[in-house]
């Protein structure tokens, strides 16, 4: 097991190296010049050139790339072109809101989607099943920002139950923290709930046909015991896989959700940086997201061994 973990951790190195090369090259080739944006309308071409030189943007690709990689290896993600702040500091400021949003969304999604999928499979073909699947289709189809605006309109503007926007750090108390996250988490969780509910239903349907379920019924096991102890446990591997894949959905959705609810997270940092061509920030955030995604996948793989003892690495 440990050998496997070490192998997997080592395998992230070439993956991250490829991501780094890809991100850097993409930004190098992308149109847009931060020096021109900084210099503004009043600058002469000489001014723009001076700013470009002061930012080191006039140097060859390989020089810039190798310097960047060298700094990364020392744990330095560079300095934002625009704010003059270390990228590491900017990311640190933004991690808590994004992490909070993801955790709350994940908890919300799992606590709703799994029972929904289980019940839909149990009541296959009934109106409950159709309602759950209808909700899943809706969850997939309606864009996050539409759900976000609707929730904000109803629950913040009209009913005044929740704030429209913003984020309160956890350190300032659980209730202020959760109050700001409820609407964004519901908006972001819609697609995630749909995804998990569908896969739970499909997997449960398959498991419920198995011989050991018939045996459990024959033994006189109760319905909830059959569903949650016998069936769900055996259906867990595909569900966990989808939960892992869904992290990418969450990262993408967080960009939109954070904009709609003005949450100062990494998603908004990324969008702002892209629009301004703040290369060090874009590179730092994309690298971080990639690293997280690789780690999540590793975590999911390890989780398989606990859920299904037959799996060995």
């Amino acid at each position: 097991m440990w050998a496997y973990i070490i192998r997997r951790v080592l395998a992230t190195i070439p993956v991250m190296a490829f991501v780094a090369l890809f991100v850097f090259s993409l930004l190098y080739l992308a149109p847009g010049d931060p020096a021109a944006v900084i210099a503004g309308d009043q600058a002469t071409p000489d001014d723009v050139e001076r700013i470009r030189a002061s930012l080191g943007l006039d140097r060859p690709y390989l020089v810039r790339f190798s310097e960047w990689v060298f700094r990364i290896l020392q744990g330095d993600l560079g300095t934002s072109i625009f704010t003059n702040l270390p990228v590491g500091h900017m990311i640190a400021q933004r991690i808590e809101p994004t992490l909070s949003l993801m955790i709350v969304t994940l908890c919300l999604a799992l606590s709703i989607a799994i029972p929904m999928g289980v019940v839909a499979a149990w009541k296959q073909g009934t109106w409950i099943d159709r309602a759950v699947m209808g909700f899943a289709v809706l969850g997939f189809s309606v864009p996050v920002f539409v759900v976000g605006y609707l929730l904000a309109y109803v629950f913040a503007l009209e009913l005044d139950w929740f704030p429209v926007q913003g984020y309160t750090p956890f350190a300032q108390g659980f209730f202020p923290w959760i109050e700001n996250l409820v609407l964004p988490a519901v908006a972001l969780g819609g697609v995630y709930i749909a995804l998990i509910a569908r896969i739970t239903r499909a997997t449960m349907l398959e498991v419920l046909q198995q011989d050991y379920i018939r045996t459990a019924r024959a033994k006189g096991a109760g319905q909830s015991s059959i569903l949650f102890l016998h069936a769900l446990k055996n259906a867990a591997v595909p569900i966990v896989t989808v939960v892992g894949i869904g992290i990418a959905l969450l990262i993408g959705g967080a960009v939109v959700t954070e904009s709609v609810f003005a949450i100062p997270g990494l998603g908004r940092l990324t969008v702002d940086a892209i629009l301004r061509r703040d290369y060090p920030v874009i590179q730092g955030v994309v690298l971080l997201f990639s690293f997280v995604y690789v780690l999540v996948n590793l975590g999911i793989d390890l989780l398989y061994t606990f859920l299904d003892p037959r799996i060995r690495y």
Partner: protein, 524 residues
């Protein structure tokens, strides 16, 4: 009071003893854009200028009648026929770190400003010496009189001459400063600064407002009536609007037109032009490549431009927000006139423009119009221009990207077949077009000009003459001549001017018109 606030307040009242501490006065404001740079000399972003007017002070302020008034200066003396000017500082000025403001600080700040500001660059060319005489006064020694000195020192045109401590102002003008320490009415709270989310300012308790005059644009006493001002960066207009409606924020600097219509129905919200002067919009030609390298081609477009069409695309059809018959200077400012505007104010005719294009020798060459999709006014006027060129029947390549790409692409001097451009549109704030000093599209210095690179020596001669003009009448005469020349050479076409509307809670009073200025403002 909102329902949630009421619950919270009731709970808090139940838990606390009857203390007498007064709650801090907090203002929550949503700016037009994120504050990415704190250095008002390094960047020309308006949002940084607004930040700078909170943190820094200027030697002179500009009042609503465009007069320069002493601000940090207590006064000045002019000797040697205007070639030796000594400025004395007000007593009691202190930086936010507690140090005294000295003449040496101001000299260094001006040296840095002169590297980047067009008026400053002109001043630097005429400067023999700028030295601190003692701790409280400094002296300009000039090669020849510079009549616009005080206007330049009061000008809010980016980058404006903000005063900083000498050690900070010693930073190269092309490098960003690392600290925001000024002597203005508000202190920047660096601990809470989270670019893209939150900017916090605290009232500078040591600030001594200018005892002279009344608050008027950037001149007069700057009295801070809020203990803490929070800039909440909310990029989504709908979210900012909802937050304004619920009272989570007090002031939304720049609601888009469709939002303005919605807010009009809310009696708790006041909407008004943020600046009594309008912003100007232009259509810019590239002089380097055909077909608009020919004057007749550029002139041929004039009859097709209907300024009302362009402006209603930006702010809707409310006539109070639109200015037409606009020339090269900001309407309502001293240099604005209608001289030479007949080609823009006469009957509009696409057919006439088509005929003029034919006469000028247009043979279906490709015309590339570039523009953004992500910035409201330039995006809207670019769409109108696209429609105009289509109706003119030209061979149009209409390229829409984000603003960052437009800024880079318009700097390209490549021919059209190698990615170059022919036309783009943009808008400028009222102060940018107030006079020839910072009016970049009106320059005619060829390769050194703003993108478009027109070579019009007459415009340069007139600009130099304007800097030397002894009084306003002489300046006006030169400005008329510049407008006449510009309408003949057509380095750009003015496509109108529009008022920018701001929205705030109705209990905010005594806002100083101009841009987002925070002194004098109070909650009723």
């Amino acid at each position: 009071m909102q329902r949630r606030e009421l619950f919270a307040a009731t709970a808090a009242a139940a838990m606390t003893s009857p203390a007498v501490a007064q709650a801090p006065r907090i203002l929550r404001f949503v700016p037009q854009a994120n504050l990415t740079s704190l250095d008002p000399i390094w960047t020309t972003a308006n949002v940084t200028r607004n930040h700078a007017y909170m943190v820094y002070d200027t030697l002179y302020g500009l009042d609503a009648e465009f007069n320069a008034r002493p601000q940090m200066a207590s006064g000045h003396s002019i000797e040697d026929g205007g070639k030796r000017i000594t400025i004395t500082l007000r007593a009691g000025l202190r930086w936010h770190d507690g140090e005294r403001v000295t003449a040496a600080d101001c000299v260094q700040s001006l040296v840095r400003w002169m590297r980047r500001n067009p008026s400053g660059q002109q001043l630097a060319r005429q400067l023999d010496e700028l030295v601190a005489v003692d701790d409280t006064s400094f002296r300009f020694r000039l090669k020849k009189p510079f009549p616009l000195l005080f206007s330049a020192l009061a000008s809010p045109v980016n980058p404006a001459p903000f005063m900083m401590p000498e050690r900070i102002a010693a930073t190269d003008a092309f490098q960003q400063i690392r600290e925001a320490i000024g002597s203005g009415p508000f202190k920047f709270n660096s601990r809470e600064y989270n670019s893209g989310s939150l900017v916090v300012y605290e009232r500078n308790g040591d600030y001594v407002p200018n005892p002279q005059g009344r608050p008027s644009f950037t001149a007069g006493p700057k009295v801070a009536n809020f203990d803490r001002i929070e800039w909440r960066i909310i990029t989504d207009a709908a979210t900012a609007t909802a937050a304004l409606q619920t009272g989570e924020i007090d002031w939304f600097e720049q609601p888009p037109p469709e939002i303005q219509q919605l807010l009009r129905r809310n009696r708790n919200i006041t909407q008004e032009p943020i600046d009594p002067l309008p912003l100007s919009a232009i259509l810019r030609f590239n002089f380097l490549h055909g077909p608009f390298d020919k004057k007749e081609m550029r002139q041929a477009i004039l009859p097709a431009v209907n300024q009302a069409d362009y402006m209603s695309a930006v702010v809707g059809t409310d006539p109070a927000l639109i200015r037409t018959g606009v020339g090269v200077f900001t309407p309502g400012t001293p240099l604005a006139s209608d001289v030479g505007l007949e080609a823009l104010t006469g009957p509009r005719s696409i057919d006439r423009a088509k005929a003029l294009l034919r006469d000028a020798g247009y043979t279906n060459q490709l015309i590339r119009l570039i523009g953004p999709t992500d910035i409201l006014a330039p995006a809207a006027i670019t769409q109108v221009a696209g429609d105009m060129f289509r109706r003119l029947g030209v061979n149009l390549d209409f390229v829409l990207t984000d603003w960052g790409t437009v800024v880079q692409r318009r700097a390209s001097r490549e021919p059209i077949e190698r990615g170059g451009w022919n036309v783009f549109l943009t808008s400028f704030s009222s102060t940018d077009f107030m006079d020839p000093a910072g009016h970049f599209p009106l320059r005619g210095s060829g390769a050194n000009s703003w993108p478009g690179w027109p070579t019009v020596p007459r415009l340069e001669e007139l600009r130099d003459a304007w800097f030397d003009a002894p009084d306003l009448d002489a300046q006006k005469a030169i400005a008329r001549d510049m407008q006449r020349t510009a309408m003949d050479e057509v380095p750009f076409i003015p496509v109108g001017a529009y008022m920018s509307v701001t929205a705030h809670r109705s209990n905010l009073r005594d806002r100083v018109p101009g841009f987002a200025l925070f002194w004098n403002l109070r909650r009723a």
